[in-house]
């Protein structure tokens, strides 16, 4: 009976990303260094475990394989954008050490351009919690943080991978320091041919063809220098990233357009942070500079766009008493962008101020926030959030939670200024969000159980959509109202059987994202699911650890996605399993090496994440990681 129960409930069990296996990279942060605005526990967050982070090559893979958020990938190495709780690609904000990275031009992030090497911790802040990080998060936020350690250390980690389809990557991490200073250098390089075979079902004989023109090169560098002060630290980071890739066409194309894209980014951050008595502060100033060059040889297009973002933050937390905390965050942004599609260089100033209060009672925690935004001369004084968490029993780790909030997403430069079509009279999109759920953790007979359940509801108004006009060009309007509702659950179970540690975990998300507005009586998109938002998404994994050997099996299910707003066309579901085995060896007293072998898509499933863009079949990845302790 028990076994049957396991089978029946299996698809519904949503297994938390985390393997709680401790690796030496898991950094325990001292209180003094925790300066980020911590999201109250009343809000749903997903924290990615460091093992999972190490296993993933980039942020796209990390999020897609370990959370309920959906990554829309145009293929290996190609553009990967996010749909979080049913929202659009620009509705998720990505913050790196508090700096907003979303492009001022289209509001989006290409998640394939963020190797996991370049951040130490990653977290998803679902729904209304995104308000605490900044405005614009209608679906949620992705938080990438780096950490510093002040101790005597000389640590070198070098990782080399070689995979199928002539795919190679190298990563070097160097950490030096003492009790006063912290230096970190990270270098990353990648060269992928991605010339994998696929069955061309758009040709009458369904021949097996090799993907052409999918080469992808990335190079990145991150340098950090920090100095420890009496009650805090001061320092900065520079992150340079350069990517050049060919853009393969769809398989229905019989000729290549010979498209390519180059992305280059510089992100520089200077920050001062600390804790003195009951006053915690984080002051930062950052410059994010992005350049994108798109070329299409057939169409003779060579377009270049540049954007700069100055992002300044003063975040303070005041602990009035053990149970009272006040957050006060001031943000000043200056955005500027130039593109072939703009008739002039555009810029704007955005100022926002978040004031929050947290109060912990014996069993109850309450919080309330409000964010005031001034964008150019327009004032939006009211974007609040409220949350509560209640511990039901004294001795059980069972919490019930609820929260609600409002957030605005402002039109991007493309929406406002693209020539032709840009619409200066666009209103900001905004979302009203509410969620509630519970979390529970318990250890029963040596089995550690962690589970959480969240139900969410949000309404996005004035959603901006680009559509053709009668004048022969495309233009954006505040066309749609969208309702998103669903559940997110996770479960992880871990135990030790003799010397073997087993951990199973999973995440499941159900997302119903429907259009509430019809253009006219013939519009069949009313009350239909938005395109490319899967109803069902399951990601799960099993980790078996024996001595220094790790065996990891992951299974990801992505349900069908509609391709048309009337839901007449869809892409079928896919379920992808990966397996990897790794072992760590000692080479010398101070050097370790770990070798890993990974088989991806072990059932060699043919699938498309986006219509007519093939994804790789079964493929292999070997990696060697050398570590100087």
């Amino acid at each position: 009976m028990k076994t049957i129960l396991q089978i029946v409930i299996l698809p519904f069990l949503l297994w938390q990303s985390a393997f709680s296996q401790n690796t030496e990279d898991t950094v325990k942060i001292k209180t003094v260094e925790v300066i980020e605005t911590i999201i109250p526990e009343a809000y749903k967050t997903t924290k990615f475990d460091s093992t999972v982070k190490e296993e993933s090559s980039n942020l796209a893979e990390l999020i897609n394989n370990n959370s309920g958020a959906f990554i829309k990938s145009y293929g290996a190495g190609s553009l990967a954008s996010i749909s979080f709780r049913g929202t659009g690609a620009s509705h998720t904000q990505v913050l790196w050490n508090g700096v907003a990275l979303n492009s001022p031009m289209n509001g989006q992030i290409d998640f394939s351009l963020y190797p996991t090497l370049f951040f130490d911790e990653a977290e998803l802040h679902h729904g209304a919690s995104g308000l605490i990080n900044g405005s614009g998060a209608l679906g949620g936020s992705v938080i990438l943080n780096n950490t510093e350690e002040y101790k005597n250390q000389t640590k070198i980690t070098f990782k080399q991978t070689a995979g199928s389809f002539n795919n190679y990557s190298s990563a070097l991490k160097l950490k030096l320091g003492n009790k006063k200073w912290f230096y970190e250098t990270q270098l990353f390089g990648k060269m992928d041919r991605n010339n994998f075979e696929y069955k061309n079902i758009s040709s009458i004989e369904t021949p097996t063809e090799k993907l052409d023109r999918a080469e992808n090169k990335q190079f990145g560098l991150q340098q950090a220098v920090y100095y420890k002060l009496k009650n805090g630290s001061v320092g900065g980071r520079i992150w340079y990233f350069n990517s050049g890739r060919e853009l393969p066409g769809t398989i229905t194309q019989t000729n290549s357009n010979e498209e390519s894209q180059k992305d280059e980014s510089i992100r520089a951050l200077i920050e001062l942070k600390g804790l003195k008595n009951n006053f915690q502060y984080h002051i930062s100033t950052a410059l994010v500079s992005d350049q994108l060059i798109y070329k299409n040889k057939q169409a003779n297009i060579n377009s270049k766009s540049n954007s700069q973002l100055f992002d300044n933050n003063i975040n303070t937390n005041i602990y009035l008493s053990k149970n009272w905390k006040i957050n006060n965050n001031i943000n000043f942004k200056y955005e500027t962008a130039k593109a072939d599609g703009y008739s002039e260089k555009n810029n704007r100033i955005r100022t926002s101020w978040l004031l929050g209060v947290n109060k912990d009672f014996k069993k109850l925690s309450l919080n309330a926030f409000n964010r005031i935004v001034v964008i150019e001369s327009e004032l939006k004084p009211f974007a609040p959030g409220f949350g509560a968490q209640y511990k039901i029993f004294n001795k059980e780790q069972l919490f019930i939670k609820a929260n609600t909030g409002i957030n605005y997403h402002y039109p991007t430069f493309n929406d406002l200024y693209w020539n032709p079509g840009g619409n200066k009279s666009l209103k900001p999109e905004y979302a009203k969000m509410v969620e509630s759920g519970f979390s529970y953790s318990k250890s029963i007979k040596g089995i550690e159980i962690n589970t959480a359940f969240t139900a969410f509801y949000s309404k996005v108004k004035d959603w901006i959509i680009w559509q053709p006009t009668e004048f022969g060009y495309w233009s954006p309007t505040n066309l749609k109202d969208v309702e998103n509702k669903g559940i997110e659950t996770n479960l992880s179970l871990s135990t030790n059987i003799k010397k073997i540690r087993i951990k199973g975990s999973g995440n499941y998300a159900y997302t119903k994202s429907t259009n509430l507005k019809a253009k006219n009586e013939f519009d069949n998109s009313l009350d239909k699911q938005l395109i490319y938002v899967p109803y069902h998404k399951l990601s799960s994994s099993i980790l078996i650890n024996f001595k220094s050997i790790n065996l990891i099996y992951t299974y990801n299910y992505t349900g069908k996605r509609f391709m048309t707003t009337d839901n007449e066309w869809y892409l079928p579901a896919n379920f992808i399993s990966d397996i990897s085995i790794s072992n760590q060896f000692k080479i010398t007293k101070t050097w370790d090496v770990s070798a890993s072998f990974k088989m991806k898509n072990i059932l060699d499933q043919d699938y498309q994440s986006i219509a007519w863009r093939p994804m790789p079949g079964r493929n292999y990845l070997i990696s060697l990681t050398f570590r100087l302790k």
Binding site: K2, T3, Q6, I7, L10, P11, K199, I201, S202, S203, I204, G249, T250, I251, T252, Q253, T254, N255, Q298, A299, N300, G446, Q467, P468, T469, E470, F471, G472, T495, I497, G504, K519, N520, F522, D523, N524, S525, S540, I542, Y553, Y555, M563, T564, T565, D566, N567, E568, W569, Y570, L571, P572, A573, F575, S577, L603, D606, Y607, Q608, A611, W612
Partner: protein, 347 residues
């Protein structure tokens, strides 16, 4: 606890279900798709890069509709995108699929694929010169491709400078809209050479010939750049006989069509307009109001002068076709595929 071991096995079993690959259509029924004379094919462009162009078959007598007939007749093959235009030559239809860089050749009755002509850059319109040779205009290749209809291959090209759009043949000359240089190009099809070019209005997008052998060219005026113009051209002396200028640069007229008698012009300018070839001014009143629909494609049934207009709605769902009588009264409406753009009245 050891039962946890079952989990990967169960997951593997889950994974073993054979799934379909590629986009799937929910309500495309497999039906007999044999066409007959007077049937209408609606070419649904599909979205750029989405591979979802399709053909809808409509019988105006019994009002039956068959969706996605190319895929259905060809073992679920996608038509590709963007299905730009369709041309009948004898018992074959040639479908130009722009972003898939190809021309599909199908049997006009069964819609079975007979050949796929490849090697194009960004093909737009197909014009048979005779039973052995055709021209295909192109957005990006700076040339017109010459196609050998016996071998279904590209046999040559005519170098141009820019985007060539609609074209027609009359008295051993081919007349081509040159969108880039705002010219009407004149080509000698015997030698495949460009012989002359005449300045017309900005962005000439459609062209046809009337019963008096006068050529009409619709020029959209570009995007908020010039006043749109309808041009009446005399091919005999290669001069512009009349220029009808629209009143606003924000207008974007297109889809110039003519009835079977070749004396009534129709075109789209948000709404449908009708104009006699002997009129001295542009029509002031609309022939068919758009009633807040976004009219996208237009054509005229050669048999009874009924008017077919398409609306792509939000461009990401199956569009709708409005069918009007020759006097402009709505007869009925029906769904087609994604972004219905052009029509073929089977002869």
């Amino acid at each position: 606890m050891i039962k946890l071991i079952y989990i990967p096995i169960i997951l593997l079993l889950f994974s073993c279900t054979k799934e379909k690959l590629g986009p799937q259509c929910i309500s495309c029924k497999v039906e007999e798709t044999n066409t007959q004379q007077a049937d209408i094919i609606i070419v649904n462009e599909g979205n750029f890069g989405w591979g979802n162009g399709s053909l809808t078959l409509y019988n105006p007598l019994d009002k039956t509709i068959s969706q996605n007939i190319f895929s259905q007749a060809n073992n679920n093959l996608p038509l590709g995108d963007v299905a730009q235009s369709i041309t009948q030559l004898n018992n074959k239809a040639y479908i130009v699929v722009n972003n898939s860089n190809k021309v599909e050749v199908v049997d006009i009755n069964s819609f079975n694929s007979l050949a796929t002509i490849t090697g194009f850059t960004s093909p737009r319109y197909f014009l048979p010169i005779n039973n052995n040779k055709a021209y295909v205009t192109d957005l990006y290749s700076n040339s017109i491709q010459v196609v050998d209809l016996n071998s279904n291959t590209i046999s040559g090209n005519i170098q141009l400078s820019g985007w060539s759009e609609e074209l027609l043949i009359h008295n051993d000359s081919v007349y081509v809209c040159d969108m880039t240089n705002d010219n009407l190009l004149i080509i000698d099809p015997l030698n495949n050479t460009l012989v002359d070019s005449v300045k017309v209005g900005e962005s000439p997008n459609s062209i046809l010939i009337d019963q008096n052998n006068k050529i009409w060219i619709m020029c959209s005026g570009g995007i908020n750049s010039n006043l749109p113009k309808l041009i009446k051209f005399n091919p005999q002396n290669r001069t512009i006989e009349n220029t009808f200028t629209f009143s606003s640069i924000s207008e974007s007229p297109g889809s110039l069509k003519i009835n079977a008698l070749k004396n009534q012009l129709y075109f789209l300018n948000s709404s449908v307009y009708k104009m006699n070839i002997n009129d001295l001014t542009l029509p002031i009143s609309t022939f068919i109001m758009n009633n807040n629909n976004t009219f996208y494609g237009l054509d005229i049934d050669p048999i009874n002068e009924e008017v077919y207009v398409s609306d792509a709605i939000d461009y990401v769902q199956n569009g709708i076709i409005f069918r009007y009588s020759s006097s402009g009264d709505l007869i009925n409406q029906f769904n087609s595929g994604v972004i219905p753009g052009s029509f073929l009245f089977i002869e």
